[in-house]
């Protein structure tokens, strides 16, 4: 195909492409849209955070739970010892 002919074909395809959005009218009620977006976007974000928390909770393995429990027990024991030490010192 000749260069000129190709240029014409693509020119026509570009027109077809550009006119494709004219088959429908898009009406935007801007003030209503802004209000909707403000309320919906914050709700999406809340839902998304909730979903993330749920996923994190569900993906925490039993091993991690046991490990955290063990750490908490160790910390509690250490704090008790420290309190006892200070109590004895006071006496």
């Amino acid at each position: 195909m000749m260069e000129e002919e190709l240029k014409d074909i693509w020119g026509e395809l570009k027109d077809v492409w550009r006119n494709s959005s004219q088959s429908e009218k898009i009406e935007l009620q801007m003030s209503g849209l802004l209000a909707e977006l403000k309320s919906k976007v914050s709700q999406f974000e809340k839902d998304s955070i909730k979903k993330d928390i749920k996923m994190i909770k569900s993906s925490t393995s039993q091993f991690e739970k046991d490990s955290i429990k063990r750490d908490v027990t160790n910390i509690t024991t250490s704090i008790r010892k420290i309190i006892q030490y200070f109590k004895k010192k006071k006496e």
Partner: protein, 168 residues
């Protein structure tokens, strides 16, 4: 500040609504309708606008957002993780004068052939049809201008072959 954002958002939308919709029409795959994708893009433009740094033109940025949303919606649909939203303030109506049959046939062939391309080629040809220069296509796709020029030669050839076949 909020008012400025709202003003900018309104202007961008009025200016870009048709180009966003053209992209959505190519990327919409059943059961997603182009109108659903359009709304997803609008929401993303609204959410991302405060982070727009002006590194590119606003028009380039809108194209980038639209392509990203359309692509990720497809992925989310495949993972069954897409719940299309409904914005009541956006209305679509058929135009009073329908497009000519010949134009409509050509458009359908073009759309079908574009849909059969891989994601990168699809976004390149869509941006080419939008008459963006290679420099801007490079910014949006992350490819070099030379790479785009090479790809364009091949895409145009295969697309023309596909369209000719469909219109025979």
């Amino acid at each position: 500040m909020q008012n400025q954002t709202e003003q900018a958002f309104s202007e961008i939308l009025e200016e870009s609504k048709h180009k966003i919709y053209r992209i959505c029409k190519v990327y919409a795959v059943s059961p997603i309708e182009p109108q659903d994708l359009f709304q997803e893009v609008i929401i993303q433009v609204w959410k991302s606008l405060p982070t727009f740094k002006g590194n590119s033109s606003i028009s380039t940025w809108v194209y980038k957002v639209a392509l990203n949303v359309c692509y990720t919606s497809k992925v989310r649909l495949e993972k069954k993780n897409l719940n299309p939203v409904s914005l009541e303030s956006i209305k679509f109506q058929l135009a009073e004068i329908p497009p000519e049959k010949d134009q409509q046939e050509k458009y359908l062939a073009l759309r079908k052939c574009i849909s059969s391309l891989n994601e990168v080629d699809k976004s390149i040809i869509v941006l080419y049809l939008e008459e963006l220069p290679y420099k801007e296509i490079a910014v949006i796709t992350g490819l070099t201008e030379n790479h785009i020029a090479v790809k364009m030669k091949r895409i145009r050839k295969s697309l023309l072959k596909c369209i000719t076949k469909k219109l025979k």
